[in-house]
């Protein structure tokens, strides 16, 4: 094919996308298959699916000339073929071998697209796989051959097969000696007849369900996320104009009385009504388009969850712990961009649960807990947010130990009086780790602080709840989408600012007589809690003047802490489209972007997280926890 007609890069990208999905299927199917180890009867549909996936990878790789991938996929396919033809019993060894193959295949494909370096030991693995499957091919041939000969000469059959069996056994012995850990014990060759059936049938979708799923898949198309982003941005413009037209219609309707009893009234009045009707219709359609485009961008979070069962399996094996992963709410939808970003933080959390949370089996038994530890991964919608929980029934967080570690690492001093909450927050400090020694799983001192930062970047909230001896629950709250939000508009020093409604608890007018000071910083008492005030106009240097009688306060929540932002006036709630500030201006702490309002004016969006963080850091805000003491 000539260069002009064959954009190889595009094909490689397509190949990668396709195989990524297939390898994910292979991974989860293998996990399902693992439940049938040593069972009499395995679910043929799972094996078929594995076979088909491998076959597709082999075909696509061949087309693009990726011979190594093609070769490996071919050999794995042969193993699945043996399995589906009942020529090979399913043992733990074969599953492990297949998992390893799947990993090597993934690494090979990543290497092809330049995402990783070429993995080592590919040839060695292929040889092992080859001898493994040839073993069973020989066995199958003997059985088939034996049956054939049985029909003609009984005597000779016995001799011949005995010889062949002897050769076969020699083969096995050689292989056993060759493989470093004796991967092929003899009993592997005999099917374990009395193995128990897998317990829960619910875990294996029925045949019909699978077919249904496949049919649904064929009705989908792949769309570049950039095109969707472009559409969303256009919808954003539309939303702005919708609001603007509604504003104009409303203004016109209000000023209609000015034209009363003038000749123009007869023309203007019906037109005004028409405009209002059209504006209403436009608003409705725009809303529907907006909702539609949002839905298109939504993908189930299960896409991220899919890789965790395998991860937990490998981790728990490595740590010699018994861990079960329960997943709920995999079908919960959220924005594609959020899904792409949330995988990494979740991975850190799950690792943390396996490494720090779940105890070893013996210790668990001693504590009267079930031998197998459980990690629960749960996702659900709550209002305009999605909540993701990662919980374990392990040892929980030992606050005394965290505090001690914090002192040793110089994060706090011995004399500091810390609330439980503040001790818990030490975990979020960069470099903090309670693990006594570094393992390959966690304990390298990266983790919770990275998780917290990543989640904050997604405008999410990260929280820990832990009871010593009972377990830990990490909770992540994320907005469904990052592009359009509900905001409270406030006026400060002549400009309009937008405060994202998800961080607003309430807005209040408070008399100055109720404002106290702690170390020179203003606070108010709200339902028994001390809430520090932040005069945002002064903080931003807007040259605002203080009202001697009252303050208008927007109470915001940041990581469970409340802060009252003092503004000049409240201007109501509105749906706003977030636009980033130009990178010529760069990132400004306290401002997350801007939006264009219905009348064409600009409102800057306040980034509550960094604003409050900065205010604390610069000592502009009283530390409520201390002032309460």
């Amino acid at each position: 094919m000539s260069e002009e007609f064959f954009d190889r890069e595009e094909f490689v990208q397509y190949f990668k996308d396709e195989t990524d999905e297939l390898l994910q299927t292979v991974d989860s199917s293998l996990l399902q298959l693992e439940k049938y180890v040593d069972a009499d009867d395995i679910d043929a549909e799972i094996v078929n699916e594995l076979f088909r996936a491998m076959h597709t990878i082999k075909g696509s790789a061949g087309m693009l000339g990726f011979t190594e991938v093609q070769e490996l996929a071919h050999r794995l396919e042969s193993v699945f073929d043996l399995l589906r033809k009942d020529r090979m019993p399913l043992s733990q060894q074969s599953i492990d071998l297949l998992f390893e193959g799947c990993d090597i295949l993934t690494a090979l494909i990543r290497a092809l697209t330049g995402e990783a370096i070429v993995p080592e030991g590919v040839d060695g693995y292929m040889e092992r796989l080859e001898s493994f499957s040839s073993l069973y091919e020989t066995a199958a041939a003997i059985v088939a051959g034996g049956a054939e000969r049985h029909e003609d000469q009984g005597e000779e059959r016995l001799d011949a097969t005995t010889e062949e069996i002897a050769a076969f056994e020699a083969d096995v012995a050689r292989l056993l000696a060759g493989s470093e850990s004796g991967k092929l014990p003899a009993e592997l060759l005999a099917t374990a007849a009395d193995a128990p059936q897998p317990a829960d049938g619910a875990a294996h979708p029925t045949h019909q369900a699978r077919q249904e799923q496949r049919r649904n898949l064929s009705q989908t198309i792949r769309v570049d996320i950039e095109r969707l982003d472009a559409l969303l941005s256009l919808v954003g413009e539309l939303v702005i104009n919708r609001t603007r037209i509604s504003d104009i219609a409303a203004t016109l309707a209000r000023s209609l009385s000015d034209f009363k009893d003038t000749p123009a009234c007869g023309v203007i009045e019906p037109l005004t009504k028409d405009l209002a009707d059209s504006a209403g219709l436009l608003a409705r359609t725009t809303n529907e388009i907006q909702e539609g485009i949002m839905k298109v961008r939504m993908v189930p979070i299960g896409q991220v969850f899919e890789r965790f069962p395998r991860m937990v399996r490998d981790l728990s094996k490595a740590r010699k712990k018994e861990v079960r992963l329960e997943i709920r709410g995999a079908e919960t939808d959220l924005d594609k961009t959020v899904v792409d970003e949330i995988g990494e933080p979740l991975m850190h959390l799950i690792r943390n649960c396996v490494d720090h949370g779940i105890e070893e089996a013996e210790e668990r038994l001693g504590l009267g807990k079930p031998e197998v530890g459980t990690i629960r991964l749960n996702a659900y919608h709550e209002g305009n947010q999605i909540i993701i929980e990662v919980g374990d029934d392990g040892r929980g967080i030992n606050l005394a130990r965290v505090r001690e570690k914090g002192i040793r690492q110089g994060l706090v001093s011995e004399s500091d009086k810390l609330t439980d909450r503040e001790i818990m927050e030490l975990i979020f400090q960069p470099g903090f780790s309670t693990a006594e020694k570094v393992t390959d799983i966690s304990g390298r001192g990266v983790g919770m602080d990275v998780v917290k930062k990543n989640i904050a970047r997604l405008k999410g909230i990260f929280d820990i709840d832990s009871t010593e001896g009972v377990g830990t629950i990490f909770t992540i709250k994320l907005p469904l989408t990052l592009a359009i939000i509900q905001a409270l508009l406030v006026r400060v020093g002549g400009e309009l600012y937008s405060i994202p409604l998800d961080s607003v608890i309430e807005s209040q007018r408070v008399e100055m007589s109720e404002v106290r000071t702690v170390h020179g910083n203003e606070v108010i008492t709200l339902r028994g809690a001390v809430v520090p005030l932040l005069r945002i106009g002064e903080f931003f240097g807007l040259g605002t003047t203080r009202d001697p009688e009252k303050v208008m306060i927007v109470i915001v929540n940041m990581q469970g802490r409340q802060v009252g932002i003092v503004v000049d006036s409240f201007q109501g709630e509105q749906e706003i489209v977030i636009k980033p500030l130009s990178d010529v201006i760069g990132r400004i702490s306290g401002i997350s972007g801007a939006t264009i309002l219905g009348n064409g004016s600009i409102s800057l969006i306040i980034d509550v997280h960094s604003l409050v963080g900065d205010a604390y850091a610069s000592g502009r805000v009283a530390r409520a926890e201390y002032s309460a003491v």
Binding site: L426, L581, I585, I588, A594, G613
Partner: protein
């Protein structure tokens, strides 16, 4: 403009949009100028570098505005009816610049553009691409990329100084 010396026309010419700041005349390559607007309402962006005047809404797009006087450390003046916003496009970045007045589009022969002598003006030479001579007029040719990118550099320094890690709160 293209009258006095016909020989100049035969050489390579560059077209520049000229504008004034104080008593000096500046020019930017016309290819980098997207449009010239009258003064509109500028939304102030707090904690931005001092020369960032703010942002404007240009037909639904947010355009950052640089006050060139502030950028070049000249004294600020009240905006007049002649004040203009020159919207430029450099790479994919769009930036508006507030100038005292826009005069005209000039054709300057390339050979008449010389390297900027040191400290000919109040403007730091790092922003200057050269000085074009047109009769007895001197046009200071701006290097917009520098005007913008240097602003990024400084702005980052400002940020680092002003904003310690937000997560350092406990």
């Amino acid at each position: 403009m293209q009258d006095k010396d016909s020989k100049q026309l035969s050489g390579e010419m560059i077209q520049v949009v000229s504008f004034s700041l104080g008593n000096e005349e500046y020019g930017v390559d016309i290819a980098q100028v997207q449009e010239i607007n009258r003064m509109v309402q500028i939304t102030h962006v707090p904690r931005a570098p001092h020369f960032m005047e703010g942002v404007i809404n240009l037909r639904g797009q947010l355009i950052p505005i640089i006050d060139l006087r502030a950028r070049f450390d000249m004294p600020r003046v009240e905006h007049t009816k002649n004040t203009r916003i020159v919207v430029t496009e450099i790479g994919s970045k769009r930036v508006g610049m507030v100038v005292d007045a826009v005069s005209e589009v000039l054709r300057v022969p390339v050979e008449q553009v010389e390297e900027a002598p040191e400290m000919i003006t109040g403007v730091e030479t790092e922003y200057i691409r050269g000085v074009g001579k047109l009769g007895d007029r001197l046009i200071i040719m701006l290097d917009l990329q520098r005007v913008i990118s240097a602003s990024e550099k400084r702005e980052l320094e400002t940020l680092d100084a002003a904003a310690p890690e937000a997560t350092a709160v406990s």
